[in-house]
């Protein structure tokens, strides 16, 4: 896959290459999650018609999350305190964690002997997962984009940086990028109007906006995957797991701010939708009380959208080993001066280079790194890498000495990173 980005005169079009690469990687991973490998599709239809008819609407739907106003806004230097392709975790107390774990074991054993996987989110943060790290990222990304309570309320109050604060309704109202273009219209036209049951040529638009809604039983349903002919219920979506290459039914359940995603092996369900309905019912019977309890515990400890804000700091913390990141809330990052962000973006570009060089030269050995640079506006842009963890920081008030800046990092490291960045 190749992404071509046109560099405009606009000053906002200063990109970090790695960030763009991550966008490409994300859309690819999501596509594979829903449709399987591109290679397999090409083998099925060497002319490429099949893959095109899937890719086009998929990428258009994906890109529709990026526009700000009428423009397509790819991640720019302003997003340098964000890391695509990572999950954001909820920090919780031991008691809540135990409750969650107890719920997880109920979820995973929901379908009897066949092992299900589960993922739990609270608001837009990951609480727990039994999936492999890669599958976790993909499903987490999709959940935040389309399934979480915020996504369901179509981003009215979006604060997660995965959703850019845009809403699909904005976007549909007209722009060059909307799917009202001639090609897409053609594709959709044929599929949308085709009668139910005759959906051989139908293209499921997995990322289509505004198609998920919450059913009476708390499970989220969508008609994106069509309607089951026999029972006239919406067909349950399926996804492919990267690790096990197994097709799974995707059953999201929502209770208040808590989203549970249950993945049931397709192979374990013999009678299709009926079987899925049975497992769902089992989940309600076995887990309802626990779900209630977990929701209550997590709500109690919930610090709000700005919970992870540390005053005086604008930071991004990435744990590359675990694919986890945490950052200052977007609302706080916007208070930074453009110069500061530009400086950090530049710094990150350099660090990315250094990282890839180290990776090439010496696989397996981790490189420790510490860079602090002074921006034009006298802000400090700082990067520290140690033991696979990365910390990026902008300190605008620390306009004094390097020692001051270094101290500030040390303090932050000790208080919020268990001293991971303060080894000497």
């Amino acid at each position: 896959m190749v992404m071509v980005v046109e560099k405009g005169k606009d000053s906002d079009a200063i990109w970090r290459i790695d960030a763009l690469r991550k966008v490409l990687k994300e859309v690819h991973s999501l596509f594979v999650m829903f449709y399987g490998s591109i290679r397999a599709m090409l083998e099925k239809d060497p002319s490429g018609g099949l893959i095109r008819s899937h890719l086009y609407p998929f990428i258009m739907d994906y890109l529709s999350d990026f526009p700000v106003g009428k423009k397509l806004q790819l991640p720019s230097f302003r997003d340098c305190l964000k890391e695509r392709g990572t999950v954001q975790m909820l920090t919780m107390g031991r008691e809540a964690a135990i409750e969650v774990q107890s719920l997880v074991s109920v979820l995973d054993s929901c379908a009897g002997n066949s092992s299900c996987y589960s993922m739990i989110l609270f608001h837009d943060l990951l609480v727990s997962t039994t999936l492999s790290p890669d599958d976790t990222i993909n499903l987490f990304t999709y959940a935040v984009l389309r399934l979480s309570p915020n996504a369901l309320s179509s981003g009215v109050n979006s604060w997660s940086y995965i959703r850019r604060g845009s809403t699909s309704s904005h976007f549909v109202s007209g722009s060059a990028l909307t799917h009202s273009g001639p090609v897409s219209e053609q594709i959709y036209h044929s599929s949308d109007t085709s009668p139910v049951g005759n959906n051989i040529n139908r293209v499921t638009r997995a990322l289509q906006h505004g198609k998920w809604y919450k059913g009476k039983d708390g499970f989220l349903v969508t008609d994106i995957w069509g309607v089951d002919v026999g029972s006239l219920v919406c067909a349950t979506p399926t996804v492919w797991l990267q690790q096990t290459e197994e097709a799974m039914y995707l059953c999201p359940y929502q209770f208040k701010s808590l989203t549970l995603i249950l993945l049931i092996p397709v192979s374990s369900i013999l009678n299709g939708e009926q079987g899925v309905a049975l497992v769902k019912q089992q989940l309600l019977e076995n887990a309802s009380l626990k779900i209630l309890k977990v929701e209550e515990k997590l709500s109690k400890g919930w610090g709000g959208e700005n919970a992870y804000h540390v005053s005086g700091y604008r930071y991004l913390l990435v744990d590359g080993d675990r694919n986890i990141s945490r950052a200052s809330p977007p609302g706080k990052v916007t208070t930074l001066a453009k110069e500061s962000l530009l400086a950090l973006s530049k710094l990150r570009d350099e660090v990315d280079l250094e990282k890839s060089r180290a990776k090439r030269d010496n696989a397996g050995c981790e490189k420790d790194l510490e860079v602090s640079i002074r921006a034009k506006n006298n802000a400090w842009a700082i990067a520290r890498i140690t033991g696979g963890k990365e910390l990026y920081m902008v300190l605008e008030k620390a306009s004094e000495t390097l020692l001051y800046a270094s101290d500030a990092v040390e303090k932050f490291s000790n208080r919020y990173c268990n001293g991971a960045f303060s080894l000497d």
Binding site: M92, R94, E95, A97, I98, E99, Q101, S102, S105, V106, D108, S109, S128, T129, T130, L131, S132, P133, T136, N286, D321, R322, D368, G387, G388, N418, G419, A420, L423, D424
Partner: protein, 734 residues
């Protein structure tokens, strides 16, 4: 179940099949008291003596503590009719009812006698009893009311203290409840009660018992044998048989009220009621079965299916009468009929106020959590209840019962332990033991010296959680303190090896437990050998988290096959319960959880277990993470990180060096002044990197860091190596 079948059974009766299964056993051998020319057999519940009598002699057997070989004491008394006998509570006096108007008192020490007679001829003595009420010592129940007397030991006479006038048809009294119920009225269903407790005399409000009418205008009369006073969990109840309605009504007594509690159905024209270790036993005599109720819970459902009463280990032999009681389960029935010991519920059985022990057989009951709850309430034979609980816990896990059910069961055990901590009953046994064996014990205790001393200091509770199983299973009884070698011998297997397992059904009651679970791994039960010595020490069946780990999780883990995630779920449930009760968990349990997760390669989840502190940080946990991290670098990192956060500097630095990260290790060593790691380790590591600059840097570091480093052999050795390296580098570069 007929008497015949039972009489032919062998000692292994409990496991020979469902036909021989029983909840309640009469202890065998019985107490045999064959007295030639015996005229009557009495039981005095105040002193718990069994009293056969002849015309001029009284024999008495102690029934508590039960010993089938107990010998009797005998008193020769003046000849005459004996209607009833009761010993004074200090057993110095014997009160003998000679007629409906005369009670004779026999002073045993001096062999003197004096008599008490009713004042008027119209008065009839219905009965009498001794009491420990501060107001009086002796109470006579007459048809005209109660007379309360104090015994004057100097004048050797009874002084009337108080009279309570009322018409009495009959009465019931138990010493255990100190409650006397006086029946009056046409149907004998109006009751007045007095409790003669050590706090004084409490008069209970008058109340009527319910009686169904067989037909209009007929009024059945309540008989004394249809009313039972029972004490369960310290509460006093009265049970009344309604023969017409076929119900057993229960009433609970409060200080100022009597409240009807509900009714239990009965299935036999004739029933008897006894209470064994707070469990209500309703003997359905016609049906020859016992139904067990635990009336602590509000439920009216029986604990278990009705099963026959059996005589445990009953061989074919006969004696004049049996008094059943003893160590493993029993009921207190007296079989007056000579030659028919093998017959259960013989026509002539008299049920005497019971106060003995029941071996509740839990296996046939299906509701595990409630069974555990029930077992945890056992006070007598606590060690057995405890072992049963441990056995049940193991079994439900091995059988992979639903997590929700096991979770409830664990909840029961944990909250019971928590309660026992609060009430202190968990440590009672330990404390009394430590005082009894005193200083000698401290001096002889080997591996658990600190525990023993702390116990004597009275700080046992704090130590308990860390001291491990040693302190909870005080293995040394006082008798052992005298001899050190003996003490060591007896306690060693217990303390050092919890896997010293006793396989098979060495213990009769253990076999009974598993008898109904005739499937799967329980056939060959793992049972931890805990010597009888401790049994007597233990007063609570509560199970500490350490014991849960050792005797449940660790034991089960060894036997479990297949997917370990089930056990992980169970451990999580256990942590849930302990967290709720704020009880600390043995770090080894965390270690076990890590092993299980790693075995499943669930490293990502393991990570969330650690980062969320579900597995609390400790050195043991960190080391296990490092161990499991051999297969997974992230897990290893977690272990390292934990060592660092626990400030275990030495271990941390050593591990960094091991990983070849000696630069980092040196920085860390300097920052935290870790001087315990030998420089040679660093030098060795730097040397093996074959980089002279690194080696030089390390040498330089230690020269600065350790004052006399330049004089050590390490320095000279590695300095030499460095020089060699440099020359060889120089040579090759040429």
């Amino acid at each position: 179940m007929s008497g015949k079948a039972s009489s032919s059974s062998q000692p292994s009766i409990g496991l020979s099949g469902s036909g021989a299964l029983s909840h309640i056993y009469i202890q065998y051998p019985p107490l045999r008291c064959s007295i030639p020319e015996s005229r009557g057999l009495h039981y005095d519940d105040g002193t718990k003596l069994l009293i056969p009598s002849t015309s001029n002699q009284i024999f008495s057997w102690k029934t508590v503590p039960f010993n089938p070989l107990a010998t009797s004491t005998s008193d020769s008394i003046p000849e005459g009719p004996i209607l009833s006998i009761r010993f004074s509570l200090d057993t110095k006096l014997i009160a003998i009812q000679r007629s409906s108007s005369e009670i004779q008192f026999w002073i045993r020490e001096t062999s003197e006698a004096f008599s008490h007679r009713c004042r008027s001829d119209s008065e009839n003595i219905l009965g009498f009893f001794w009491t420990d009420c501060p107001l009086c010592d002796f109470v006579v129940v007459k048809n005209s009311g109660l007379d309360l007397f104090a015994y004057d030991s100097v004048a050797k006479s009874l002084d009337l203290v108080e009279m309570r006038k009322l018409n009495v048809c009959w009465y019931v009294y138990t010493h255990e409840s100190r409650l006397v119920l006086l029946a009056s009225g046409m149907q004998c269903r109006t009751f007045t009660g007095f409790q003669l407790s050590s706090a004084g005399i409490v008069r209970l409000p008058k109340f009527d018992m319910a009686m169904a009418k067989p037909e209009a205008n007929s009024k059945p009369v309540l008989a004394a044998e249809d009313v039972y006073i029972v004490t369960v969990y310290g509460r006093i109840y009265c049970l009344q048989v309604d023969r017409v309605a076929m119900l057993l009504h229960s009433y609970r007594f409060y200080r100022d009220a009597v409240v009807q509690q509900g009714s239990l159905p009965i299935y036999s024209r004739k029933i008897a009621v006894s209470v064994v270790d707070n469990v209500l036993l309703v003997h359905q005599i016609d049906a020859k079965v016992v139904i067990l109720y635990d009336i602590f819970a509000d439920s009216r459902a029986p604990i278990s299916a009705p099963l026959p009463l059996q005589s445990r280990g009953f061989p074919r032999s006969y004696s004049s009468s049996s008094r059943s009681s003893g160590k493993d389960g029993e009921c207190s029935e007296v079989n007056n009929k000579i030659d028919h010991e093998g017959i259960i519920y013989g026509d002539n059985w008299t049920f005497i106020v019971p106060d003995l022990i029941c071996d509740a057989i839990a296996a046939s009951s299906s509701e595990t959590p409630s069974v555990l709850e029930f077992l945890q309430r056992r006070k007598l034979e606590a060690i057995k209840a405890k072992q049963l609980c441990l056995g049940i816990a193991r079994t439900v896990i091995l059988e992979r019962r639903p997590v929700s059910m096991v979770s409830k069961a664990i909840d029961v055990l944990v909250s019971s332990y928590s309660l026992s901590l609060k009430t202190g009953s968990y440590f009672k046994g330990i404390k009394t033991e430590s005082t009894s064996s005193g200083v000698a014990k401290t001096s002889v205790a080997r591996s658990s010296t600190d525990v023993s001393t702390s116990r004597i200091d009275g700080t046992s509770i704090r130590h308990e959680s860390t001291a491990g199983v040693d302190s909870e299973y005080p293995s040394r009884a006082s008798t052992f303190s005298a001899s050190e070698s003996e003490e060591n011998a007896s306690s060693a297997p217990l303390r050092t090896d919890s896997r010293d397992l006793q396989l098979g059904g060495g213990k009769v009651d253990r076999v009974n437990l598993t008898g109904a679970h005739s499937s799967g791994p329980t056939d060959n039960p793992v049972f931890v050998n805990i010597s009888e010595q401790q049994d007597s020490e233990l007063t609570s069946p509560a199970i500490s988290p350490d014991e849960m780990y050792k005797f449940v999780f660790a034991a089960v883990e060894e036997e479990m096959v297949g997917d370990p995630s089930y056990l992980v779920s169970i451990i999580v449930e256990f942590l849930c319960s302990t967290n709720m009760e704020k009880i600390k968990v043995h770090p080894n349990l965390y270690v076990l959880a890590i092993q299980l997760l790693a075995r499943n390669e669930r490293y990502a989840e393991l990570e969330s277990f650690v980062t969320n502190k579900i597995l609390e940080p400790s050195k043991e946990v960190a080391l296990q993470l490092l161990e499991s991290g051999r297969q997974n670098i992230q897990t290893r990192k977690l272990g390292l990180e934990m060592l660092r956060q626990l400030s275990l500097h030495h271990d941390y630095v050593s591990l960094l060096v091991q990983d070849g990260r000696y630069n980092e290790a040196l920085r860390y060593a300097r920052k935290y002044q870790v001087t315990t790691v030998r420089p040679a380790l660093f030098l060795q590591a730097a040397c093996s990197s074959n980089n002279s600059q690194h080696l030089a840097a390390v040498l330089r570091f230690f020269s600065d860091f350790i004052p006399d480093f330049r004089t050590t052999s390490d320095f000279t050795t590695y300095y030499g190596i460095l020089n060699e390296m440099n020359t060889s580098v120089a040579a090759t570069s040429f």
